[in-house]
Symmetry: C2
Subunit: 335 residues, 2 copies
């Protein structure tokens, strides 16, 4: 039997393959650096529904149908759906799955939810408990903005350290049947809080957590940053990315040109999103478009995806609390 | 290698043992049918903090420390914490784990979260990915009431079909080292919605989901209700429990005197909680007191715990949506 754990926080997998990935986003996301790489671009932020929330739910429905189609799966072939979203009580995810007859595991680790879903999906498959599963996470700018910050109608000026919640849903079908791309390991993160209290500065709040999990992953697995063709943090944005590079260098792990941040990658400077993208959909759509394409076409052989989540709520912000964060990372390799 | 899955939705485990359970609750919970069975009873609903939310967080901290002590674990012995709560963005759970240096997996399936944590904890252990983990879930009447319904200060009359959110946190340490009690199987639930729109009537909304998962579990495992000494649904309350009994009987599975509901069990008629207890803490504290005691003292040999969760949010209620629900069940056996 192969080894299933290494170091303090890292799990090792075998026979976990990526069967298909699917990304759905809004017009603004498709107008950035990754233009043309997404499977589906919504022409209208409400997706033809009467509220943004119902639009977000429909995004989940389409992303689930879309990845099943790409995986050539019928609904009856799929064993379990695992994932979540940012809305209170995970309603976009759960409502999209109403009466679909799928068994469902709901997760919440903010913008690290997609990485958590790949991690736990890999545990289910590698352990032999499921033969396949669908991992999915997403977010919507307009629903998140009014839930976490201000109603859009108020027209509040955005802070220069702020990020732009991604409107997008990314979905991945994992299978125990051999494919070209495997999930080989994952590191479960800790809840880290360095005392940042500015709810606009998510990148700064999440950076120490990303560093903690990346260092742990390298230590547990005995790898170095140069062992990966791509290291992608979830959605720290430009500011958070720079903090990560500095803190990693201080710990003796220099991150070079193979280090990107999904939030920083997604948008371009001219789009006025300040530090870049954020939201549970950010790493989910970047992974299921650009990163997966790079794995398929041979640009990358080994990728480390580190989903980063800020675990705040408006209530904790009102009560003057700082922002704890968590980062789960997943190592992906071509065979 | 033993079989890891059976039927459509059921996982089979080996080498997953319950090392210790711990229950913490409020005065009202300790004044009901299970008086004297809890490990810790708070004398003050704010637990000495300045808000109910901070009190709820402290409940999680104490329940985590308490179960580690009972399991004779040091913090460094524990590999992973898995669970969640009902507050927006799982903040009681996540904030309680800030800077504890534990690796953490956050879940959300409303009041089914405790059962989901036992399910995924068992997957981690049975698959060999962890040697131990701590499963925890909880809720607080005063934080849930103001989040989901009305501020307490408004003094709104309660509906006769309503339930009372449990103030309590239950925690369980699972270990792969042999103990007397094992988790042997679990069934992952579907998101079921029969169209109930009254956010006060959770029992009615959740009952069809409980029936769906129980029937699936019996079908997948080839067992009958009489094979269990105790079948406990999470928190359907009296009304929901009666609906479950009727629907199960219609499907040819008569539930007898071995069927209880944790919400119905927890409180007594004189406590004016109408249909009984609810909340993620309900099944968590009933399991970690009365049910676990019954397993330890030989009253029960085989128990089926079916955590039931109503997947609504105030926003979906305002938008006129019905209430989807999910039930995950876990089979526990003495050796």
């Amino acid at each position: 039997m192969h080894k299933k754990q290494v170091g303090a926080q890292t799990l090792l997998f075998e026979n976990v393959y990526i069967k298909a990935g699917y990304s759905l986003c809004g017009l603004k996301e498709d107008d950035g650096s990754l233009k043309g790489q997404f499977d589906f671009v919504m022409q209208d932020d409400k997706f033809g529904e009467d509220t943004f929330e119902k639009g977000e739910r429909k995004m989940f429905e389409i992303a689930i149908e879309g990845v099943l189609k790409k995986a050539q799966f019928k609904h009856a072939d799929l064993q379990t759906v695992i994932g979540g979203d940012l809305l209170n009580q995970n309603v976009s995810f759960n409502f999209a799955l109403r009466n679909t007859m799928q068994s469902v595991l709901g997760l919440y680790s903010a913008c690290a939810t997609f990485a958590e879903s790949l991690l736990l999906g890999s545990v289910l498959l590698s352990g032999g408990f499921r033969n396949n599963c669908l991992c999915v996470a997403g977010s919507h700018f307009s629903t998140a903005e009014r839930q976490y910050r201000y109603p859009l109608e108020l027209g509040v000026l955005r802070s220069p350290v702020s990020q732009w919640t991604t409107t997008g849903v990314g979905s991945t079908v994992l299978s125990s049947e051999t494919q070209n791309i495997s999930i080989i390991a994952a590191t479960i993160g800790k809840v880290i809080d360095y005392g940042i209290i500015d709810a606009n500065n998510m990148g700064g709040a999440m950076a120490p957590s990303a560093v903690d999990t990346l260092l742990q992953h390298f230590k547990d697995t005995g790898t170095r940053p140069t062992d990966y063709d791509l290291i992608a943090t979830g959605d720290l944005g430009k500011l958070g990315k720079n903090i990560v590079m500095e803190l990693m260098a201080q710990s003796g792990y220099m991150l070079g040109g193979n280090y990107v941040d999904c939030g920083d990658m997604l948008f371009e400077y001219e789009q006025e999103v300040f530090q870049g993208g954020s939201g549970a959909g950010c790493s989910a759509i970047v992974f299921n478009s650009s990163i997966l394409n790079g794995l398929y076409n041979g640009k990358y052989k080994k990728v480390l995806l580190a989903g980063t989540g800020a675990l705040l709520s408006p209530l904790t912000t009102f009560q003057g609390e700082s922002i704890p964060s968590i980062t789960h990372c997943v190592a992906i390799s071509t065979n």
